[in-house]
C-alpha cells in the first residue's frame, strides 16, 4: 500500500462532487449546467496532472480507498493505466468545456441536473475502470460506467429509437460483463486472489485449455464494449441517439475501456501467449476495420457514420494488438513494442479526432435539427469555424499526413511489414495481406470523409434549416479548437511524444521503445533507420514552404489578371439549384454496386401516374442495404433466447412456495457437491 496520488484522489472527488451537485440542482437546469460541468472540467484537469505525473515517474504502488470497506477498493496508476487516464482527461476536458455551450439551449426543456449527475458518474466510472487494481473493484467500476452510459444514452427517451438502442446496448453490455466475470473468476481460482498484481503473467501458466478459455472470454467480453465485429451491432445504434457531447465521450473513450481491458489482459496477464491468439485477434481486427468502414460508406446519418468509423478504428487498434501478440509468441519483443505503441498511439489519436468530429457533428445537428446529411449542405459559409474543425478531424481520421492519424497508421504498417520476416510458415502471409487491407480501409475511410465533409459542408444548402444555420457557441468552438490543436501536436510532434510510451513498454516488455523509433531527432523510424523513416514535422514544413511559394507566385500573377465569379456549368438549364447537387447516396453508389455481394442492396422505384403511364407525376425511390449481422446472427439468436425463456416459464409458476422449494433444493445440492 503506497501513498495515494493526491491529484488522482482529488480528481475522483471532483467527479463525485459534480455528480452530487447534479442531484442538488435537479430542478435548476441553469445552475446544473454551470456547476456540474465546472466540476467535470476541474476533475479532468486534475486527472491530466495525475496521468502526466504517473507517466513521468512510473510506479506500480497500489492504494486502498478508505471510503468503502466492504471489499478491497485498490487503485493503481501504473504506466498503462496512466496512459488511458491521460487520454480520458484530455477528451473529457474538451467535451466538458463544449457542454457549457451545447447545453445552453436545452436549459428550458431538459433536466440538466440528471445529465450532470450521470455525466460525472460516467467520468468517475471511467477513471476507476482505468485505475482499478482489483478484479472485483474493476467490475464494479465497469458497471458504474456501463449503467451511467446507458442513462446518458436514454437522455432523450421520448423517442422510440432511443429507447430501443439503449436497451440493445445494456443487454449486450451485460452479456459482455458476464463473460468478463467468468474469465476473472477462472483466473482468481488459480491466483487465490482478486488483485491484478497476482494475475501478472499468470494466464500463461494455466493449462492450455483454461488458457484458451480465459483468453476467448476476455476477448469477447471486452470486444462487446470495444465493438469488435460481430459484437458491434449495439454501437451504431446507441452512439448517435445520445446527446452529442455524450456521443463524443462514448465513441472517444467509453469504447476504449474494451481496448484498455484487452491491453491489460494481453500484455499484463499473459506473458507469452500461444500463436493462435494473435492470429485470431489480427484477423478479427482486419474484419472489424473493413466491415466498419464499408457500413460507414453507406450511412447518411452523420452521427451513425461517425459511429461506424469508431468500429473501423477499433479494428485498426486491434490489428496492432494482434500483431503484437503474434510477435510475442514468435519471440520478437522489439517488433511487439512497435505494434503496441502503434495501437496505443492510435487509441489516443482516435479519442482526439473522433471526439472532435462528434463535437463538430453535434454543432451541426443542433443548428440544422437533423442528422441526415442529405438535408445539410453549404454549411462552410454559415458555420466556418465548425467546418474548419470538422475538416481537420476528417483529414486526421483518414490517416493523411501530417496529422496524427497518419503517424499511428504508419507505425501499424511498419509493424505489419516487419512481421513477414518473423516466421517461415504460411502464417507470415497474414502480415502483408493485413497491411494491404489496412490500406483499403484507409482509402475507403478517405472516400467516406470526402462525403462526410463534402455533402454537409460544401456547395448549396439542401434545406431551409441548412440555409439558416448559425455558428456554434464560443465555448463549443474553444473545445473543438483544443482537440484540433491536439491533432496537430500529436501528428507533428510525434517524435517528442513517443518517449511517453517508454514506461509502458518497460512495464510490459522490459525495454524502452523510443530509442528504436526516433531517428535524428525529427523523424520516426521502424526499428532501424534503414527500415524506413518518416517525419511529419518535416513533411509539414516542406509542404507549407512549397504550397506557400506557389500561392505567393500565383497571387502576384493574379493581381494583374481578371478574377470573376460566375455560376457553375449547369448544362444550359436555367440556373443551378441544390437539386442538381450530387447526393450522399449517389456519391457512395459506385461502392455500393462494387461491394454488392457484401451489402446486398435493394431498391424500389415506384412511379405515380395521373393520366397516362408515359407521364409520371411523381417517382418514389427507395434504396437500402441488408443488415447482414442482425438478420443472420442476432435474429436467430433472439428467437432462440425467447424460445428458451418461454420454456423456462413452466417452472416459473409465480407461487412463493415453489420458489422456496427451488432455493432449498439448490442449497442441498450445493452442500452435497460444492463444499469439500
Amino acid at each position: 500500500m503506497g501513498l495515494p496520488d493526491p491529484f488522482l484522489a482529488s480528481a475522483l472527488l471532483s467527479f463525485l462532487a459534480g455528480a452530487i451537485s447534479g442531484l442538488a440542482t435537479w430542478k435548476r437546469p441553469a445552475a446544473a449546467r454551470i456547476v456540474a460541468f465546472a466540476f467535470a472540467v476541474l476533475g479532468s484537469l486534475l486527472l491530466a496532472v495525475a496521468g502526466c505525473r504517473a507517466l513521468s515517474q512510473p510506479t506500480s504502488a497500489t492504494w486502498s480507498m478508505p471510503l468503502v470497506t466492504l471489499f478491497p477498493c485498490t487503485v493503481r496508476l501504473d504506466p498503462l493505466s496512466a496512459f488511458f487516464t491521460l487520454t480520458l482527461a484530455i477528451l473529457a476536458l474538451a467535451v466538458s468545456v463544449y457542454s457549457f455551450g451545447y447545453l445552453r439551449p436545452m436549459e428550458r426543456t431538459r433536466n440538466l441536473g440528471a445529465l450532470g449527475f450521470f455525466y460525472n458518474a460516467l467520468l468517475l466510472g471511467l477513471a476507476l475502470v482505468f485505475t482499478a487494481a482489483n478484479a472485483f473493484f474493476f467490475l464494479s467500476a465497469w458497471e458504474v460506467m456501463a449503467v451511467s452510459a446507458f442513462c446518458l444514452v436514454t437522455f432523450e427517451h421520448e423517442k422510440a429509437e432511443t429507447r430501443r438502442a439503449a436497451l440493445v446496448y445494456i443487454v449486450m453490455s451485460h452479456a459482455g460483463t458476464a463473460m468478463l466475470l467468468a474469465a476473472f473468476l477462472l483466473l482468481a481460482a488459480f491466483a487465490g486472489s482478486m488483485d491484478f498484481a497476482s494475475f501478472h503473467l499468470l494466464a500463461s501458466k494455466l493449462p492450455p485449455a483454461e488458457q484458451g478459455a480465459v483468453f476467448l472470454l476476455f476477448f469477447a467480453g471486452f470486444g462487446v464494449k470495444a465493438g469488435i465485429v460481430p459484437l458491434h451491432v449495439w454501437l451504431p445504434d446507441a452512439h448517435p441517439v445520445a446527446p452529442s457531447n455524450v456521443s463524443a465521450l462514448m465513441s472517444g473513450i467509453v469504447i476504449k475501456c474494451g481496448i484498455y481491458g484487452m491491453a491489460r489482459v494481453f500484455f499484463d496477464f499473459f506473458g507469452r501467449p500461444p500463436l493462435w491468439t494473435g492470429t485470431v485477434v489480427l484477423a478479427l481486427g482486419v474484419i472489424t476495420a473493413l466491415v466498419g468502414v464499408l457500413y460507414a460508406l453507406q450511412e447518411h446519418d452523420l452521427k451513425r457514420l461517425l459511429a461506424y468509423h469508431s468500429i473501423e478504428n477499433i479494428g485498426i487498434i486491434v490489428m496492432g494488438f494482434g500483431a503484437a501478440l503474434m510477435f510475442r509468441a514468435l519471440g520478437h519483443p522489439n517488433l511487439a513494442a512497435i505494434a503496441i505503441v502503434g495501437a496505443l498511439y492510435h487509441t489516443l489519436n482516435h479519442a482526439i479526432f473522433k471526439g472532435l468530429l462528434f463535437l463538430a457533428a453535434g454543432s451541426v445537428v443542433q443548428n440544422v435539427h437533423t442528422r441526415n446529411m442529405e438535408e445539410m449542405g453549404g454549411l462552410v459559409r454559415r458555420m466556418p469555424g465548425t467546418a474548419f474543425f470538422f475538416l481537420i478531424g476528417a483529414i486526421a481520421i483518414s490517416g493523411l499526413p501530417p496529422l496524427n492519424g497518419f503517424v499511428s497508421e504508419w507505425l501499424t504498417y511498419q509493424a505489419l511489414l516487419a512481421g513477414f520476416g518473423t516466421t517461415h510458415s504460411l502464417t507470415r502471409m497474414m502480415f502483408p495481406i493485413a497491411g494491404s487491407l489496412l490500406a483499403l480501409t484507409a482509402a475507403l475511410a478517405a472516400a467516406c470523409f470526402v462525403k462526410a465533409f463534402g455533402i454537409p459542408f460544401l456547395a448549396l444548402p439542401r434545406s431551409e434549416a441548412a440555409a439558416n444555420a448559425r455558428e456554434a457557441a464560443p465555448e463549443m468552438q474553444y473545445a473543438m479548437a483544443l482537440l484540433a490543436a491536439a491533432c496537430f501536436v500529436l501528428g507533428l510532434g510525434a517524435t517528442w511524444i513517443l518517449p511517453v510510451f517508454d514506461p509502458i513498454t518497460i512495464q510490459v516488455l522490459g525495454a524502452p521503445v523510443s530509442p528504436s523509433l526516433i531517428a535524428h531527432g525529427i523523424a520516426l523510424q521502424a526499428g532501424t533507420a534503414q527500415s524506413g523513416t518518416v517525419s511529419p514535422v518535416g513533411i509539414a514544413l516542406v509542404f507549407f514552404a512549397l504550397a506557400g511559394t506557389a500561392a505567393f507566385l500565383v497571387n502576384r500573377r493574379l493581381r494583374h489578371a481578371r478574377v470573376a465569379t460566375g455560376p457553375s456549368w449547369d448544362c444550359g438549364l436555367p440556373g443551378l439549384t441544390s437539386d442538381n447537387e450530387y447526393t450522399a447516396t449517389a456519391f457512395s453508389k459506385p461502392l455500393r454496386l462494387i461491394f454488392s455481394a457484401f451489402y446486398r442492396p435493394n431498391r424500389e422505384i415506384r412511379p405515380d401516374y395521373d393520366v397516362s403511364p408515359y407521364y409520371p407525376s411523381a417517382i418514389r425511390f427507395e434504396s437500402g442495404i441488408e443488415p447482414t449481422f442482425e438478420k443472420y446472427f442476432y435474429g436467430p439468436l433472439k428467437a432462440w433466447v425467447f424460445g428458451l425463456s418461454r420454456r423456462m416459464l413452466a417452472i416459473q409458476a409465480g407461487s412463493i412456495h415453489a420458489y422456496l422449494a427451488y432455493i432449498f433444493v439448490t442449497l442441498i445440492l450445493l452442500l452435497l457437491f460444492g463444499v469439500r
Binding site: 462552410v380 500565383v554 457553375s568
Partner: protein, 313 residues
C-alpha cells in the same frame, strides 16, 4: 545542410520541368501511332504558360476549399516527388518519408481535389469525386501489396534503401516476385494517372469523365497548378516504378557526372515506359466504369502471387 538543400532544389526543378515533357511525349507518340501529326512535344509547356497568363472565373457556389485545393495538390505532389530517388539512389527528402508517405501524400492531394469537385455544386464535380475516390480506394490495396513485395525484399520502406538494394544485385528484376509486383504496379500506375483503359485524359464527354469532371470548373492559374501537379504525379509514379524495379545506371552518390549519367538513363527508361503506356492506350478501348474493379482485382492478385512466390524461389 546547404548541400542537401541544393540537391532538393535540383530535383524539384527537374521534376517540375521534365513532367510536362513526359505528358507531351506520350501525346505525340500516341498521335503518331494513330497516324496523326499530334500537338508537338512541347505543347504542355505552352498550355501551362497560357493558363498562367489568363484570368479566371470562380464558381459562385464555391468556398475557400476550392481556392486552397490547387496549392494543396501542387504542394503535396511536389514534396512526394522529393521523397523518391530520381537522379541518385539517395532521395533528397528520404529522411522525411518513404513509400508510405508518398502514397499518403498523393492521397492528401486527391482528398482535396475530390472536395473541390463537390464544392462546385454541379453534378459533374460530384460525379468525378465519387468515381475518383472509388477507383483510388480499390487501387490502394493492390498498390500497397506490390509495394510491400518490394519493401520486404529490401527489408525497408525507404525508397533510397529499396533503390540501393536493387542496384547492388544484378538481374534482381528477373525474380518472379519482382516481375509480378512490377506488373501489378504498372496496372495501378495506369489507374492512378487516369489513362485508358481506366480514364481518358482527352475526353470531355460527361458520362466518361473522371479526373476531368472533378476539375471542370477550374480555369486560369488554378487549372495550371492542378494540371502541372497531375503531370508531376505521373512522372513521380513512373520514376518510382523505374527506380524500384529497374534502377540500373542509377548512381548512388551525388556528383555532377553521376547526376548526368543517372538523368540520361532515367530519360531513356522514361521513354521506354512512355512507349509502353502509349501502346496500352492505343490498343485498348476505355473500360466501362464497373469493369475497372476487375482490372484492379487482377493487379491485387498479381501482387499477392508475387508475395507467395517468395516461398518458392
Amino acid at each position: 545542410m546547404i548541400a542537401s538543400f541544393l540537391i532538393a532544389l535540383v530535383q524539384l526543378l527537374l521534376l517540375l520541368t521534365v513532367a510536362p515533357l513526359v505528358g507531351g511525349l506520350i501525346k505525340t507518340l500516341k498521335a503518331r501511332l494513330q497516324i496523326r501529326r499530334g500537338p508537338g512535344i512541347l505543347q504542355p509547356y505552352w498550355d501551362l504558360y497560357k493558363l498562367f497568363q489568363k484570368g479566371m472565373v470562380l464558381p459562385d457556389t464555391a468556398s475557400w476549399i476550392f481556392a486552397a485545393t490547387p496549392y494543396v495538390v501542387f504542394g503535396a505532389t511536389a514534396i512526394a516527388g522529393l521523397m523518391i530517388p530520381m537522379i541518385s539512389a539517395k532521395a533528397p527528402l528520404g529522411l522525411f518519408g518513404g513509400v508510405l508517405a508518398v502514397v499518403y501524400l498523393l492521397g492528401l492531394g486527391r482528398f482535396f481535389l475530390a472536395l473541390a469537385g463537390l464544392d462546385t455544386g454541379s453534378s459533374f464535380g460530384g460525379l468525378g469525386s465519387s468515381r475518383e475516390m472509388t477507383i483510388a480506394a480499390l487501387a490502394e490495396p493492390a498498390m500497397m501489396l506490390a509495394v510491400f513485395t518490394v519493401a520486404i525484399g529490401a527489408n525497408s520502406t525507404s525508397l533510397s534503401e529499396i533503390a540501393r538494394v536493387a542496384t547492388s544485385t544484378t538481374w534482381h528484376f528477373l525474380a518472379p516476385a519482382q516481375m509480378l509486383a512490377f506488373a501489378a504496379l504498372f496496372l495501378v500506375l495506369i489507374a492512378e494517372t487516369g489513362r485508358i483503359p481506366v480514364d481518358n485524359p482527352a475526353t470531355h464527354l460527361e458520362l466518361t469523365m473522371i479526373h476531368e469532371a472533378m476539375i471542370l470548373e477550374y480555369s486560369g492559374p488554378y487549372l495550371g497548378l492542378i494540371e502541372w501537379g497531375a503531370s508531376v504525379k505521373q512522372l513521380l509514379l513512373m520514376t518510382l516504378l523505374i527506380n524500384s524495379f529497374l534502377p540500373f545506371g542509377l548512381q548512388s552518390k551525388w556528383s555532377l557526372g553521376g547526376v548526368l549519367i543517372s538523368l540520361a538513363y532515367l530519360l531513356l527508361k522514361l521513354l521506354v515506359l512512355a512507349v509502353s503506356i502509349v501502346l496500352v492506350e492505343t490498343t485498348n478501348a476505355k473500360m466501362r466504369f464497373f469493369r475497372v474493379p476487375d482490372l484492379l482485382a487482377m493487379a491485387f492478385t498479381l501482387a499477392a502471387l508475387g508475395l507467395v512466390s517468395t516461398f518458392l524461389f
